[in-house]
């Protein structure tokens, strides 16, 4: 009898799987380590907890994936989150309307992203510098707005309409997780099924060649920064439903680091041209698995960031090594 699988080159198949989707292996490894640390680690509840804590970072990271694939970076996401959340709270307190708050947060987020995009796309400035500048500028506006103190959603109204979104569940799965998954699916669709997605890859892969096939590179860049702004605005809305207030000085601070780390761990090339939305989803979850495992092992909080930093270095190094084997 002939083995139907005889022709399959298992070594090659396995290698390809590993090269293209190594973040899955990383997650499995982490889950095993987590299981060793705590019996409670792999239960539906704890897994869903992992995803839940990665929602804010994760949603922004979906946008950051586009930004990085196009060969850019956005450091201002933490400040955009704070400002659109702050203005969202103001709108909510004025109108007590959830919808109005969602619209204000999203519009402010998209608008701030658009400003970044115009500097990068139209004025052709380096995105690193543009978003470094707007990171401080946006933050400053937020702090001025809240006069340094926190902006708090009206207590009664918060409990009546916002809190149910931040803490509610459907079939045992938190709304936040459902929204994260839906947005992941939406962005996956954009990147894989639309022309715009192809343009993003093309711009990051070879900007000159992209231009010479008629892609309007500047417009694509503006759109990308607007999209990450919009997603950050949505994340800001969810942030308020969860916490009920925005501390103008600290909300979203250093978010950009975790967001970029999630994208990097998810296998997106920092030099642009290559990367996936699903990779970023797992990347975001992995970041929080690390946090969870470290606390399960009762690692002192001060060492926490050191270990996280090393793991990110490892992930990007792995990418480099794998990229070399791919070119062989």
């Amino acid at each position: 009898m002939k083995n139907p699988l005889a022709g399959v080159d298992w070594k090659r198949e396995l290698k390809n799987l590993f090269v293209n989707h190594n973040y899955i292996f990383s997650l499995i490894l982490l889950l095993i380590v987590g299981r060793i640390a705590s019996d409670q680690f792999i239960t539906i509840a704890s897994l869903s907890n992992l995803v839940k804590s990665s929602v804010f970072i994760g949603i922004i990271a979906l946008g950051m994936t586009l930004v990085i694939i196009s060969g850019n970076i956005d450091l201002s996401v933490g400040s955009i989150l704070a400002l659109s959340a702050a203005l969202g709270v103001v709108a909510f307190n004025n109108s007590e309307s959830v919808l109005q708050m969602l619209l204000v947060s999203s519009a402010i987020g998209a608008g701030l992203g658009l400003i970044n995009g115009i500097f990068v796309g139209k004025a052709r400035m380096a995105s690193f510098i543009v978003t470094l500048a707007t990171m401080t500028a946006y933050r400053s506006i937020t702090v001025q707005l809240g006069q340094g103190g926190p902006l708090i959603a009206e207590n009664e109204a918060y409990f009546a309409s916002l809190r149910p979104i931040g803490y509610g569940k459907i079939f045992g799965i938190p709304y936040l997780v459902v929204i994260f998954l839906a947005l992941t699916a939406l962005m996956w669709f954009v990147m894989n099924k639309t022309k715009f997605g192809r343009y993003v890859y093309a711009v990051g892969s070879n900007e000159k060649a992209a231009k010479l096939t008629g892609i309007q590179v500047n417009g694509v860049k503006i759109a990308i920064f607007t999209i990450i702004g919009l997603l950050t605005g949505v994340a800001a809305f969810l942030y308020v439903t969860r916490f009920g207030s925005v501390d103008v000085a600290t909300a979203g601070r250093m978010f950009e680091l975790d967001v970029i780390a999630a994208v990097a761990i998810g296998g997106t090339m920092m030099s642009g041209g290559r990367g996936t939305i699903q990779g970023t989803f797992f990347g975001a979850v992995i970041i929080y698995s690390i946090d969870a495992i470290l606390s399960a092992f009762q690692v002192p909080a001060f060492v926490n960031d050191l270990i996280k930093g090393l793991l990110i270095l490892g992930a990007v190094l792995l990418q480099k090594v794998l990229d070399r084997t791919r070119d062989e």
């Binding site: 099924k193 192809r198 990051g204 992209a210 892609i215 309007q216 041209g273």
Partner: protein, 498 residues
């Protein structure tokens, strides 16, 4: 310096770049090295500069054996290499570039800027140039940069100077100055090896010549014994008549594209021509003739500074590439790797991209439609590919180029601009590209091809415009085309020296 290179061989893998070449340069001699692109001149000079190690052969300098040269040894012997491509650091000042790696230091660490600036001034005075040593190299134009490069070689004691096409960006006065200096150095016993395509220059400054062709030695002798015609014939060889590709005569009288007085400052000036339906119009010339920039201006990839382009009598708006594409102009750019290939994307995506940007309606990609289009084009242009979703980089150069061509098919383009369309692909694939070009004109489109390879111009061009220093120098009809004449006009031999 008396230099003798004997029976030098150098191969790169299977490619034999230099085969059994000997070169002798006497004391106080200016030696012209002639050869077409790829004749082996640069390889030979890189061996002398110590950049490459020959596979076999001997190098004698003033009678001593120096067969194992390295860049450092070569420099110590007083050999200076002025490269064609500029090796200057834009972000440093002129004098810092001149003294790069040879800085004058006081007390072991402290840079003696005053002294370096003084010496820089001195060398510029000798060269009859007004260049400020404290200016940033970035702010100099190309010809000044080339002069700085030359000054760097002359700053230090040298016994042999190698110049690889040093005058491509220089004005006549600057060239005369340079020649004056070379003659002055000659009086001091310094030898030079001078590489150039420009016959008038070679004849005016050089004493002896050596001609290489296809990596082999052809001839050597005194310039006084030959004329420009003979030199060109040695350069291109006698057996240059290649077969033409069978081609139906499909040229009509209808003018499709007209270019009127097009200029792009610093690159080309007052270029006018027109293309008829079904015609292959070729542009050729030498490095620095402004051809590449002209191609870019026609497509809107570079903005012209004057003149007009008309397509079917209507002014072509070249401010946006997308608008140019939609008006019916396509382009296969030169340097595939840098300008055409989206290296992280699949074969299929690479092929579909121009269709997406200019003709496809709607936001979503329809998988079936994309696959059908791909299959249709793949068959049309005979692209050899396993899986359309494989990365484009998995294909051979020739197949990649066919993908780039296919990008533009089925978009109702009227004019195809092809800039060096067969660069870096093998002979078989080249032939297929020529057939593709024929197919384009047979379907009533027009082709403007920019090429530096005469054999391919001979094969497919209906007309050939030869450019020299940014201007149209001569126009050949198909039946007048021959390499010797084309070289004659490309080198500007019909004009005064320089």
């Amino acid at each position: 310096m008396h230099l003798e290179m004997k029976n030098i061989h150098k191969s790169f893998g299977a490619v034999r770049a230099v085969v059994d070449v000997s070169l002798t340069v006497g004391e106080a001699e200016i030696h012209g090295l002639l050869g077409e692109n790829g004749a082996g001149k640069s390889t030979l000079m890189n061996v002398l500069g110590g950049v490459l190690r020959q596979d076999s052969g001997q190098i004698l300098i003033d009678g001593e054996d120096h067969s194992h040269l390295t860049p450092i040894k070569s420099a110590r012997l007083g050999i200076r290499f002025i490269h064609q491509e500029l090796n200057l650091v834009n972000d440093l000042k002129v004098f810092e570039n001149l003294f790069l790696k040879n800085e004058i230091v006081a007390g072991g660490v402290y840079l003696n800027k005053k002294e370096m600036i003084r010496q820089s001034r001195e060398i510029f005075e000798r060269l009859g140039l007004e260049i400020d040593p404290t200016a940033y190299v970035r702010d100099l134009d190309t010809s000044r940069k080339q002069l700085v490069e030359i000054a760097r070689a002359l700053l230090f004691d040298c016994k042999l100077i190698i110049m690889d096409e040093p005058t491509t960006a220089l004005t006549n006065d600057e060239i005369e100055n340079l020649f004056g200096i070379m003659r002055g150095l000659k009086k001091h016993g310094v030898s030079s090896i001078y590489i150039s395509h420009k016959m008038p220059e070679l004849f005016s400054v050089c004493d002896r010549y050596t001609v290489l062709r296809d990596g082999r030695f052809v001839a050597s002798g005194e310039f006084a014994d030959i004329n420009e015609q003979q030199a060109t014939e040695m350069l291109v060889g006698r057996s240059i008549v290649n077969d033409r590709i069978d081609k139906a005569d499909c040229i009509t009288d209808e003018t499709v594209l007209e270019v009127d007085g097009l200029s792009c400052e610093g690159y080309f000036n007052d270029v006018s021509f027109s293309v008829r339906r079904g015609e292959v119009l070729a542009f050729t010339g030498l490095f620095g003739d402004g051809r590449g920039e002209l191609a870019e201006c026609l497509f809107g990839a570079r903005q012209a500074t004057g003149g007009e382009i008309r397509l079917h009598g209507e002014t072509l708006d070249t401010r946006s590439i997308l608008r140019v594409i939609k008006s019916g102009v396509s382009m296969v750019p030169r340097n595939r790797k840098e300008r055409s290939i989206l290296k992280d994307l699949s074969v299929k995506d690479n092929l579909s991209m121009a269709y997406f940007t200019s003709a496809h309606r709607g936001l979503m990609i329809r998988r079936g439609e994309e696959a059908r289009r791909f299959e249709e084009k793949r068959r049309e242009t005979n692209i050899r590919v396993g899986n359309p979703d494989d990365p484009i980089t998995s294909l051979s150069g020739g197949n990649q180029q066919k993908v780039v061509f296919s990008r533009w098919f089925g978009l109702e383009s009227e004019v195809f601009i092809l800039d060096n369309p067969t660069q870096g692909i093998d002979v078989g694939a080249k032939f297929e590209i020529y057939q593709l070009i024929n197919r384009i004109v047979e379907t009533g489109k027009s082709v403007i091809m920019f090429s530096s390879e005469f054999p391919e111009i001979y094969k497919i061009a209906d007309r050939c415009i030869v450019m020299y220093k940014g201007e149209i120098n001569h126009v050949f009809d198909r039946d007048q085309l021959n390499e010797v004449d084309v070289m004659y006009y490309a080198t500007g031999s019909n004009r005064k020296a320089g």
